[in-house]
Amino acid sequence: MPEKKVLLSLRGLHKTFDTQEAVAGIDLEVYEGEFITLLGPSGCGKTTTLRIIAGLEMPSSGSVFLDGKDITRLAPEKREVNTVFQNYALFPHMNVYKNIAYGLTLRGVDKNIIKQKVDEMLDLTQLKGYEKRMPSQLSGGQRQRVAIARSLILSPKLLLLDEPLGALDLQLRRQMQQELKQMQRTLGITFIYITHDQEEAITMSDRIALMRAGRFVQLDTPRGLYEQPRTAFAASFIGETNLLTATAQAAKDDEVLLDIAGFTLPCTCTDWVTPGEKLLLSLRAERLHLSKTPVPVPCCRVTGELVHTQYAGGERLSVVSLPDGQTLRVRTSTETDQDLAPGATVYCWWNQESGVLVRDDREEA
């Protein structure tokens, strides 16, 4: 893999509003051409982080480097960074053409060149024929495209997108997700994308920074975040997971034996674990399998009572109660649907690598 060039780096970023710490120490390196997403619940500090990068907010401490230059104190208009705002912030007194041309007009670019570039943008965003429309005469999706075109026309080194699809309905959202990703690939512009939608983050990003209370919980690839969550928050924010309380029995090499509701289950673990320690095991609902009969014994299997089961088209959602009262939510494909009824005793099993030990941070923040 070739050496990746760092485009933006954030060092020890803090931002305090009154007494509220919105950003509590963020370090991040963003590589050129990367699509990175800041993901987190509302109020986790992702928008503040973005505004600091854009220059619309001054950090209380820490610094921002773009292309190796310190831009922490640089005015927003002097940064080679552009933003697509959550509510689009289109200029209501200018038509689509003037909105898109705004940045170039300010830079005193020749009229013919502006015309040519705006035409390119209109092509790219499929807005041909809408030049003369005012923003209020556009639908949400079209406004979105104008906002993107208005930023992209300046060929910024870095494009910041603050929940750009938040106001669109689901169908349009899906479509725009693909278009955005496509644009990012063809133009090779680095994107920093903000969303609270985990599915959006997973499908679009090269890397995801999961945020909570002004900090990064985990910075990882979508696959890494999904398959190897490091904390209970990360595991439950992305996808659907079961968090089981387990007691460590014995550890050997990179494996630990867990006691969950009387079952002895092996689990991969490289950390030092002392016998008797309480641990938290994350099991994805769709990585669990159910059967009425004791299938050829895999290493990780528990027995429980089926308390609820529901057919939901492509998949079936079942809830299994373990002897100690903990429950497991299980999603199984209906292609191999079995005749299951509540009250039955069922076997629930999974591959050893599907169980991930996570740090319990549920009480934090």
């Binding site: 220059g55 208009e77 933003t83 509510n87 705004y102 940045g103 005469q137 639908s139 309905d169």
Partner: protein, 291 residues
């Protein structure tokens, strides 16, 4: 959803309208009276335009005062537009500072915001006397300059209030977006903030213009020997009963004020309507793209 009014509500409304407009109607009616006597005898004898003729006769001496009033109104509205608009922009878009000094500054500015509106609440008489005292103290000769300055004092609030209202309903994100796209703060002002505030500036100016044309009390105190505004001229000619051509003049002034205020209302209504129409179109476009 529409509730039907009881017939009494209409009677009540009619009563109020009569109470409000009857005196005005009398003036308008008598401006067309053919009775050559003063209004005091209240005899309407027939339709005639003679008082309008008398009014437009250069010998009546209303031309000079009218010009003076218009000149004062234009200058004071121009000055007020600059002061009021910039003041409103400065106050609405002030940065929020967290330091103790910044907070004290903010408190002072909030106070300033209240004070800026005071001139339209202080009794005119007091304002007039105060301004007269001030100009005397400053040894400023009474005349055009003192009149314009005084009119600026009560014109600024009208423009300030309308512009402030418009600005606080604007999305501050627009200015941030402009900065983000490369506009310096000055460029933001000229390309975004001012154009968006313009409808409010215009309607505030129209209101202020009407107020300036109409002002009597304050002008009375700061007037000089060489200047005579229209309201002052009217006052001096009604000291001994109302000459009928004053009725004609009042009718014309009323018409002018109604037109100005009506225009300012229409302007706002048009902006509202355009917004609504655009939104409807957008909704249609949304519905189409959903299909």
């Amino acid at each position: 959803m529409k509730k039907k009014n009881s017939p009494w509500a209409n009677v009540y409304l009619a009563l109020i309208l009569i109470l409000l407009y009857l005196p005005i109607l009398v003036v308008v009616l008598f401006s067309f009276n053919s009775n050559p006597g003063r209004t005091a005898n209240f005899q309407f004898e027939g339709f005639s335009l003679q008082w309008y003729e008398a009014l437009f006769n250069p010998a009546s001496g209303y031309g000079g005062p009218l010009m003076t009033s218009v000149t004062i109104a234009v200058w004071s509205v121009l000055l007020s537009a600059i002061l009021g608009t910039l003041g409103a922009i400065g106050l609405v878009r002030r940065p929020v500072k967290k330091s103790i000094l910044g907070r004290a500054g903010n408190a002072a500015l909030s106070l300033g915001e209240q004070v800026a509106v005071l001139p339209i609440m202080i009794p005119e008489l007091i304002l007039g006397i105060a301004l007269m005292a001030l100009f005397t103290l400053m040894k400023l000769p009474f005349g055009m300059i003192t009149l314009v300055l005084s009119h600026v004092v009560f014109c600024v609030p009208y423009i300030f209030i309308t512009v402030r209202g418009r600005l606080s309903s604007l999305d501050p994100g627009l200015e941030e977006a402009a900065r983000d796209l490369g506009a310096t703060p000055l460029k933001v002002l000229t390309t975004i903030t001012l154009p968006l505030a313009m409808p409010a500036v215009v309607s505030g100016c129209l209101l202020a213009f009407a107020m300036s044309m109409d002002d009597f009390v304050i002008s009375f105190f700061v007037n000089g020997p060489q200047t005579n505004t229209l309201p002052l001229k009217i006052y001096s000619s009604v000291k001994v009963g109302v000459p009928p051509h004053v009725n004609a003049l009042c009718t014309l002034m009323l018409a002018a004020v109604f037109m100005i205020v009506g225009l300012s209302q229409l302007w706002q209504a048009r902006t509202q309507k355009r917004l609504k129409r655009d939104e409807k179109q957008a909704a249609r476009a949304r519905a189409m793209s959903a299909n």
